[in-house]
């Protein structure tokens, strides 16, 4: 079972709202390579793993991905705080806003809602671990996108 720790794994203190950036970063919440999918992947695969150390790491990494999800949500929340209707339009946040206002909804940057089709759980240790490697490698592809956004 799980318990909740009332703290972020890493602090989030955004001074300047930026809805255009939030539109991209939200993909790390509900996109095909986001933290929600990562967590569900590891936490689904662990049951049939034939090694205790692999069960252990899938449990602990899957739990950590939930902590990452919370950080991403905190970022999106702070990036979309205190916006005027004009800013919402100018920054291209109007399409998201009409459906969700500033509520956190797990969705890809392209607008596709989070879907379990973004991962696999096969019951085969080698297939699952290989899928995990492929999934983890996707984190490097986002980095250039967010370069320059280190201190918003």
């Amino acid at each position: 079972m799980w318990i909740y720790d009332k703290k972020l794994q890493y602090p989030v203190n955004i001074k300047t709202p930026n809805a255009a950036l939030a539109k991209l970063i939200i993909s790390q919440f509900g996109g095909p390579d986001g933290e929600l999918g990562a967590s569900m992947r590891y936490l689904s695969q662990r049951y049939t793993m034939p090694y205790r150390d692999v069960i252990g790491i899938l449990t602990d990494v899957g739990t950590e991905e939930l902590a990452h999800m919370e950080i991403v949500c905190a970022i999106v929340y702070q990036l979309t705080r205190n916006l005027t209707p004009e800013q919402i339009k100018e920054q291209g946040f109007d399409a998201y806003f009409v459906d969700h206002t500033t509520g956190l909804y797990p969705v890809a940057a392209s607008g596709v809602p989070w879907n379990a089709y973004t991962f696999q759980s096969t019951g085969d240790a080698i297939a699952d671990i290989t899928e995990d490697l492929a999934a983890d490698a996707t984190t490097t592809k986002e980095q250039p996108l967010f370069r320059g956004a280190e201190n918003p």
Binding site: Y47, R52, D53
Partner: protein, 80 residues
Amino acid sequence: MDRDTLLRRLMEADFALHETVLYLDTHPKCKRAYENYKQMQKAREELAEQYRKRFGPLTYYEVRSTDGWNWTDYPWPWQN
């Protein structure tokens, strides 16, 4: 007490505590519920401590084994 019995006691204590927490979340000024919580918090911790000492850690914050990392030791909760 064997492992299954102690574990069942701990599950019961945790469940009772959790339901009280749910009540307190929406009734934070209820003194009776808060007294109840404090009693159950103590009972829970005593059971958890007994369990940890005899059967290993419940969370990775509590690993105290003197012969190495035992966090991943069998059984995991779905294996019985």
